[in-house]
Symmetry: C2
Subunit: 160 residues, 2 copies
């Protein structure tokens, strides 16, 4: 993920990566911001990133891909994973263990509705210039949000 973000950006500080991630890939794959700093260091030590540090002031570290980094990213990208991940929905966990469906459904509907609105706004604004992969990932996110809404609406009192 870090290599991919840096490829997109050309070059970036960890702090910038944090901002990039927050409004794109972060919607379905999150990491802590502190992690970005250690991960960049690790990747630099492994020779996949080149590090350049400001001499004065904030002494920001800027990273860019090395050719080894580009190669590693490309290798990862061209090896289709068969890992399907997991849903990891806290609401589903509560339901699984016997929570009362109606109030849970209300809470989840509200939250998913917000998320869906956010995705749709983004999609409307960006669908024409987003790279294919990013647009497809967003569309997948939208479809999943719609499914969640359908699921939770089918429970409970059907009033929202």
């Amino acid at each position: 993920m870090v290599l991919g973000l840096i490829e997109n950006a050309g070059e970036a500080t960890p702090y910038q990566l944090k901002a990039f991630a927050a409004q794109s890939v972060g919607n379905f794959w999150t990491i802590q911001h502190a992690q970005l700093y250690t991960e960049c260091e690790r990747l630099a030590k492994a020779g996949l990133l080149a590090e350049e540090r400001e001499k004065a002031g904030r002494r920001r570290k800027t990273y860019r891909l090395t050719s080894a980094g580009r190669k590693a990213l490309e290798a990862w990208r061209s090896t289709p994973t068969t890992d399907i991940g997991e849903l990891r929905s806290p609401g589903l966990l509560q339901l699984f263990f016997g929570a009362d469906p109606a109030p849970l459904a209300r809470a989840q509907i509200e939250a998913h509705r917000e998320k869906l609105a956010e995705y749709e706004a983004l999609h409307g604004a960006a669908k024409d210039w987003l790279p294919d992969g990013q647009r497809l990932a967003l569309e997948s996110g939208i479809a999943h949000e719609r499914l969640w809404l359908k699921f939770w609406r089918s429970l409970g009192d059907n009033r929202s």
Copy 2:
């Protein structure tokens, strides 16, 4: 999750919990088996579980809910979460960062198809006696698998 599993089981050793989780909640919420041992200890220390250890042989530790544990579980269960979790699909991540859709789609379709078949077999066998929450969670899993299949089939060469 641990409290919920132990409530279901009445009493259990961490090793048994591992088995219970693997074929139920583990499908959408996984933890490492080593974690079950430390988590049970932690919960026992917090007074939520009672621990009983065999005197001889394997010296297994068996856990059951204390009344405080029952209360904590019930409190968690009756506080609907607004956390919607995240997708965290490695395949989607590759797609997002520009992977070639066709071969990726093939790999994902195959994996999701297997998972769906597993869920459907389980659903067919257990839908009549499973508690509502567990059945609904399973049905939600099935719906998501179908969505994933639809998504990945819409990419690539459409040949599977």
